[in-house]
Amino acid sequence: MAHRAPASPGRPGSARPFPGCPVPAVLPAGAAWRGGHGLCGHRRGVADFVSFNVDSCPGKEPGAVPGAAGSRAAPAGASPHRTGGHVKMKNLYLFIAFLFIPWSFALAKYDEFEDGDDIMEYDDNDFAEFEDVSEDAVTESPQRIITTEDDEEEATVELEGQDENQEDFDDADTQEGDTESEPYDDEEFEGYEEKPDASHSKNKDPITIVNVPAHLQNSWESYYMEILMVTGLLAYIMNYIIGKNKNNRLAHAWFNTHRELLESNFALVGDDGTNKEATSTGKLNQENEHIYNLWCSGRVCCEGMLIQLKFLKRQDLLNVLARMMRPASDQVQIKVTMNDEDMDTYVFAVGTRKALVRLQKEMQDLSEFCSDKPKSGAKYGLPDSLAILSEMGEVTEGMMDAKMIHFLTHYADKIESVQFSDQFSGPKLMQEEGQLTKLPETKKTLLFTFNVPGSGNTSPKDMESLLPLMSMVIYSIDKAKKFRLNREGKQKADKNRARVEENFLKLTHVQRQEAAQSRREEKKRAEKERIMNEEDPEKQRRLEEAALRREQKKLEKKQMKMKQIKVKAM
């Protein structure tokens, strides 16, 4: 067999007979071989034997190589090598022993695990770097580890390995890994599919990468939900402040516009009921962030007037968002309580059709006294948007005088409802049948509900447009005092009221009877108790006799009555 030619014949000084052997064939002058000699007297490393680039040395004759048995892989065409002697054998045995140590470790680990899958993970550590395993194929292993769910023992270990590797490799790599895994046929690596890949990755990343929990990472981005929540809260608070201030400004604008008119008509403007003396506070009473009250009193005809500015809930963000779907407007509600002697008995209402329908259902007095549906006011020159509910036609005639019609036509868009009633008791109370023993208390009142123009987007200037409406209120107060029903009207009104009362009494007849019965029984029981408690037997007997006599008298009376009725019937 011919020698392998030196790699670079042109350079005698640096001739390297073996590609893997760094030792020059010819020693420089003065140098001596140290250490043991290899097969050819040439100092060799372990690598020489693994890749088996052992070939004849230039200084030795080619011959059979008894030491070839010591090497594992024998490339084809390698020339046999002549044994160098027992020194060479000693070295060989040392080398074999050297190899045995990692081999034994691998074997030991073999025993630990029953699964064949894991054997290769630890076995090929030393040889992994010499195998042609591409990086991309490594990414295939995490996926394969995921799919092998049969391994119970090593599931956690494998998953950990997967977690470590998953973060390092992009999606592109895994896709590439699919194609690159083809050279590794199943036949070659039965059950050992992951081993070269896993060990390779392990060698590549000796540092285990732990999956850091999100809260320990130094990134605020993972807390995006919390940041959203806090931003929402801040937005809510901002809206609260802005809405509150806007409502405040609107209320004070209204009050400044109307102050003069009110102060010229009422002795007491502004009262919150807490002061000892009845002095004008001259301020609005803030009940809420969106409701302002004003109590005026001290005028002819009326007991007092309560003005409620019911603004939209601008301070509540939810309400603001709901209003974007359903537009609504601020309202001014005025309730004038009349003196008993200053108003005649009638029930009358004017307003938008929708509002009147709603009021007729809700309000006790309107539902009882105004049985007809709201009628159009076109007869009197009112616009179509307004309708009239009235107890009798005479009332309508009396109410609709020129000035009132003027008011109603000019400010029809701002009027929601106007209600004059002497039987006002508020909305219908939803009570059970048994509790209604008395008619609810009624008061003579005038009610006005006005819509502030702007439909939600009001500015303080819009409050000035409500001033004429206040004049209408004042005018109505005076008118209600002046208006008197004629005789016929009065009779009709009285009949109506009597009818309503009768109906009510009929409904509650049973309850009232039961109440009276229970009261009588209570009295009897109390008397019996007294008799029993009397210690003196004499007194007891006397009291008992008295009670008996009383009962007898009652029975006689009843019998007399029955006889009388029978006689009358006959």
Binding site: H215, M225, L268, G273, N288, S297, V300, D316
Partner: protein, 131 residues
Amino acid sequence: MGAVPWMAPGVVPGAVPGNGRGGAGGGGGAMADPRRPGKVARYKPPATETNPALEDPTPDYMNLLGMVFSMCGLMLKLKWCAWIAVYCSFISFANSRSSEDTKQMMSSFMLSISAVVMSYLQNPQPMSPPW
């Protein structure tokens, strides 16, 4: 100049001031002053117990809801419950009437804040969205 009461313009000394024409009426010819200081009635807040329908139930509902959510968040360690409780308590505060005492409002607010804090102390992971 010294203002002697009986020399004040418009007031005849000896005349009864309370004859129904109160206030500084000034000269004649003006409309009768409608004001009657003697007939002043005090303001009585309308009793809301008789008219439960008129009351706005939002602050009470929101208060209750806030407390329920904060207890849920504390017991079941749900972060989103605690956050909703904070929102409910804010809404209840915004809609509250001035007559309501602030103690209840503050207590529900503190409870919701404590629910949020406790949820994060026990589990500092960020909240995961439900989708």
